[in-house]
């Protein structure tokens, strides 16, 4: 049987080439985002100060906020978490439509990867609010709905572990897996419905981010999405490999 190093996929490139190539690219892009965030992206303005100072030929009369730099990691991770949740929801629907085990596996792994990115989002978000406002948590709309999404993701695994019957477990998990992206959509859109100072809408036409902010952000976003895809692919290969090992061991023993 051809392993991933030799099995040809899209454009004739092997699975390994795609996976590790994407990992290398994602690593380089997120590292570039890290460097650009601190070396290129300008500091954002905070509270006003008593007088104006001239810095690099520009009049500045506000405090400059450094904690905002977490934006260049926090938002790409958060958007990636939303995307993975939608991927898991898609595979949940595919499972309910076809009842094929592979879709249940893909949905489970999608939610697992989403948990990793959700935790990273929560940590970076908490650090940001702590540095900037001195509070670890505020019950504002996006934070609250995102926290609900985190609880739904954790509950997904609690639900799976509480049901012994494989078929029933997969069906119930698939239904739950469809609920999670519904909350993800609410969490993403809520700041457009209920304005929030903690989560202003920056991804919009006609302003929001300067080019020196937008370019590092987009580099980081693309890199983080690649990394999320790589993590998903690696976990899928792990599951497929484990199943293959079980089959081979049965054949050898049988």
């Amino acid at each position: 049987m051809a392993g991933p190093e030799s099995k040809k996929g899209w454009l004739g490139l092997s699975e390994n080439t795609w996976t590790y190539g994407a990992l290398a690219l994602g690593t380089v892009l997120t590292l570039a985002d890290f460097l650009a965030a601190f070396l290129i992206a300008p500091l954002v303005l905070g509270a006003g100060v008593s007088q104006t100072a001239i810095i690099n030929g520009i009049a500045v009369s506000n405090k400059l906020l450094f904690s905002q730099k977490i934006f260049y990691f926090h938002v790409p991770v958060a958007i990636s978490s939303f995307l993975i949740v939608f991927v898991a929801g898609y595979y949940s629907i595919r499972f309910l439509a076809s009842r094929e085990k592979i879709y249940d596996t893909k949905a489970r792994i999608g939610v697992e990867v989403a948990l990793v990115f959700t935790v990273l989002t929560m940590i970076t978000g908490d650090l940001w609010t702590r540095f900037e406002w001195g509070a670890w948590w505020v019950w504002e709309p996006r934070l609250t709905t995102y926290f609900i999404m985190t609880l739904l993701i954790i509950a997904y695994f609690v639900l799976r572990n509480s049901i012994e019957d494989e078929e029933r477990r997969a069906v119930y998990a698939a239904v739950w897996g469809i609920l999670i992206p519904i909350d993800a959509a609410i969490s993403f859109l809520i700041t457009r419905l209920i304005p929030s100072s903690v989560h202003p809408v920056v991804l919009r036409s006609g302003g929001g981010l300067l080019p020196t902010q937008l370019i590092p952000f987009l580099i980081g976003l693309f890199g983080m999405m690649m990394i999320a895809w790589v993590v998903f692919r690696l976990r899928m290969r792990e599951e497929i490999a484990k199943e293959r090992i079980d089959v081979l061991k049965s054949s050898i023993e049988g």
Binding site: S67, T124, L234, I252
Partner: protein
């Protein structure tokens, strides 16, 4: 040399937050890379195990 007090006020959050923000960003990025590294390692070991088992099965079927 003493900094202009207005500049000190403007950069006050930068001086306090910079080490922690950079360290937090770096630690989280490294943590993610380490997690991926463990995943790559696990997959690599499993695929080597598959190769050994397939070879063993092929030899057994050949002998049979």
């Amino acid at each position: 040399m003493q900094l202009d007090p207005i500049l000190v006020e403007i950069y006050s959050t930068v001086f306090d937050a910079a080490p922690y923000v950079i360290a937090a960003y770096a630690c989280l990025w490294l943590g993610l890379m380490v997690y991926i590294g463990f995943g790559v390692n696990r997959v690599s070991k499993l695929e080597k195990q598959i190769a050994v088992l397939e070879d063993s099965l092929a030899r057994r079927e050949g002998a049979a």
